[in-house]
């Protein structure tokens, strides 16, 4: 049973890592705790569902939904976040409240347009569960782990091996200096939102497929659990986010499997977080080792 539970934990952890990846990127570059990233997750899931239902092409659903959601991200970044964070003397809570407002609007907009009911996602893997000895692995899980790995690799490559990554890191350090260095910070920020919201969209689709359901409130839990994960991971560090996602996924699974229902799952994530922060106030993986 332990092996199966570890597999379960890794799978849940990958979902968390995937979900938090977009928000991590945005935090890493713009220092915004963007709860609205969970709105992108819901929008992405709905767009993916819609595109899939008319085209029956999963790849197209993923790509188109990621691009469209990313573009929504750019618009939000350009017309809402950027003007806010570029004002002098703005306290950090202001963008956070803005993101809460955006999140509220999105959830309700989806509800008004498509109704509050849960919708079936409708992608079913024909292969059924894969059995390795006593281990049972669902095809969706493999898909999720692969997708997480691929997106993580893309992100790592961009951050460390491309000019764009350099521009992002410069923007993260100091956008004024980055500008002086000839970095086009506008484009750099826009791209970070395309990727950040695009990642969230892919996570939304993935989770929609995993549970075969999407609903207007599907972003509620990711909205705060994401925060726990990116902070646990050291704020804005993709490696840390993956590690943190896995830790929380495993902790939740093992606690519910071996200790019974001592605490609700949400609390477990935050207890892990508080515990780690007390030992290591800058998160699991601090910025330097990125």
């Amino acid at each position: 049973m332990l092996m199966q539970q570890l597999v379960n934990g890794v799978m849940i952890g990958s979902v968390y890592a995937l979900t938090a990846m977009g928000a991590t990127l945005i935090y890493g570059i713009l220092r915004i705790l963007d709860i609205a990233n969970a709105a992108a997750y819901a929008i992405g899931a709905y767009l993916g569902w819609y595109i899939y239902s008319i085209s029956h092409n999963l790849l197209l659903a993923f790509l188109l939904s990621m691009i469209l959601t990313g573009l929504i991200g750019v618009v939000i970044q350009k017309y809402i976040y950027y003007p806010i964070i570029s004002k002098p003397n703005v306290i950090p809570i202001v963008p956070l409240i803005t993101s809460v407002g955006l999140f509220t609007i999105t959830g309700d907009l989806i509800r008004l347009i498509l109704g509050p009911n849960v919708k079936e996602f409708g992608v079913v893997f024909k292969s059924g569960a894969i059995k390795i000895g006593k281990l049972i692995i669902n095809p969706e899980w493999i898909f999720i782990i692969v997708l997480t790995a691929v997106l993580f690799a893309i992100l790592w490559f961009i951050l460390n091996k491309t000019r764009l990554g350099l521009a992002w890191r410069a923007t993260a350090e100091d956008s004024e200096i980055a500008k002086a260095m000839g970095v086009n910070t506008n484009i750099s920020m826009a791209l970070s939102y395309i990727l950040g919201y695009g990642f969230a969209a892919s996570a939304g689709i993935m989770v929609g497929m995993l549970y075969n359901s999407i609903s207007p409130t599907m972003g509620d839990i990711p909205s705060y659990k994401m925060l726990a994960i990116i902070v646990l991971g050291g704020l804005g560090n993709p490696v840390g986010t993956v590690v943190a996602g896995l830790i929380i996924g495993l902790a939740e699974t093992l606690v519910s499997a071996y200790m019974g229902s001592i605490l609700p799952r949400d609390a477990i994530a935050f207890i892990v977080l508080i515990f780690v922060l007390l030992l290591k106030p800058s998160g699991l993986v601090s910025k330097k080792s990125a």
Partner: protein, 406 residues
């Protein structure tokens, strides 16, 4: 100087707020009659106002929509048929957003400003529970559609529950498990809110008293979606011969899906919480064979049941679920008693208390128990060919009568 001004302004604001509000209040309450339409002459043609609140926005919006659909449907049907004794019915509908603070405001508005003669709650236990004492104090009857918190009806003799008590359904479920399905080792998975807790407790009580063993209890939060760890544990360690799910359709669908993919092939018994087309839609073929206790028999010969399902489908394009049916029931009860005794709230209350063997869309409402919870047979349904079908019914008096107030 500046600081003085600041404190002055703030104080003025606070004072202003209170005074403007209390001023409004005196204006409002003075001319309004104590309760609406009570002393009205027999020829009164004013509409009869019935209050209704549900979580139309927020986390429970799906149930809010379902119940609010039912409420509108009930009112439009009665009005099309000429209203009650020639008077039209007007629905005063509010959204509580699943927030107790808003529910208190709404209850206060319904009782003091809207002049409703009775109220139906289409909301969860929290909002219904805080609203109940306000209606009790105002002397306006409230029927709670499906909120089964034991304290709702304890608010007083104006408060009724249209659903059977949680303990009734839990016991009925246990009877199904032990008698019909011959289960000996039962695992419980429960959502950790009043609904899950009450059902699981009474289920356990009855099942253990009748020879079955509860081999595990797993609780999870309302918003949880991930059941792989629990299903793995049940399959590899606990090995039950039946799973009792005291939870809602989202959870239920994921549990049956996981059970199927992990190869955990034991009977699964659900509750009214999974009585929704949404359960069928998400769980698909994995839902086949799941049995549940609920209030509406889809295969009923009862004319009004079939008529309700048909009318609901025609108007909204979806099939009604358990919460919708319960709220529809509540309105039917109100229409019936108002037609019999008029709109005086105390008379309405007495008439509800005296109601016996009233045919509703969820079957025969035998009567209201002294605890003012509805006594009616518990329907047992099975999911076959992607729909709910008749499996059995629990009618034993000792099971469906809620225990006296404790």
């Amino acid at each position: 100087m500046n600081k003085k001004l600041k404190s002055f302004v703030s104080l003025a604001l606070a004072v202003g707020m209170t005074f403007s509000l209390s001023a409004c209040q005196s204006k409002e309450t003075a001319p309004a009659p104590a309760t609406g339409g009570t002393q009205a002459p027999a020829e009164n043609k004013d509409p009869i106002r019935i209050g209704f609140f549900a979580p139309i926005t927020g986390a429970a919006a799906a149930d809010g929509l379902s119940t609010s659909n039912s409420a509108e449907l009930a009112v439009s049907i009665i009005n099309e048929s000429g209203g009650i004794n020639g008077r039209q019915v007007e629905l005063v509908k509010y959204d509580d957003a699943l927030d107790t603070k808003q529910a208190v405001n709404i209850a206060q508005k319904l009782t003091t400003k809207d002049n409703v003669v009775a109220v139906v709650s289409g909301s969860y236990s929290g909002p219904t529970r805080v609203a109940a004492p306000i209606f009790q104090e105002a002397g306006i009857p409230m029927l709670s559609g499906y909120a089964i918190h034991p304290d709702v009806c304890k608010a007083g003799d104006f408060i009724f529950s249209q659903s059977f008590a949680g303990s009734v359904q839990g016991k009925a479920g246990a009877k199904v498990a032990v008698d019909m399905l011959k289960a000996k080792r039962i695992a419980i998975i429960q959502v950790d809110i009043d609904f899950g807790k009450q059902l699981a407790e009474s289920f356990t009580e009855y099942a253990t008293a009748n020879g079955a063993e509860i081999v595990s209890v797993d609780k999870f939060a309302m918003a949880d979606k991930e059941f792989a760890p629990v299903v793995t544990k049940l399959k590899e360690e606990v090995k039950p011969d039946l799973i009792y799910m005291a939870n809602y359709y989202g959870h239920g669908a994921e549990i049956v899906r996981q059970a199927k993919s992990m190869g955990l092939n034991v009977p699964i018994l659900g509750t009214e919480g999974i009585d929704s087309f949404q359960f069928l839609e998400i769980a698909k073929e994995n839902a086949e064979g799941v049995i549940l206790t609920t209030n509406m028999n889809r295969d009923s010969e009862n004319e009004s049941t079939q008529a309700f399902i048909k009318a609901y489908k025609e108007k909204y394009g979806i099939v009604p679920d358990m919460v919708g049916a319960s709220v529809y029931d509540s309105f039917e009860v109100l229409f019936k008693v108002i037609a019999d005794v008029g709109t005086e709230p105390t008379a309405i209350r007495d008439a509800i208390k005296g109601l016996k063997n009233f045919e509703t869309v969820t079957g025969n409402l035998i009567e209201y128990a002294p605890t003012r919870e509805a006594i009616k047979p518990v329907q047992v349904q099975v999911i076959k060919d992607g729909d709910f079908h008749y499996y059995g019914v629990v009618e034993d008096t000792e099971i469906i009568t809620p225990p006296a107030a404790n």
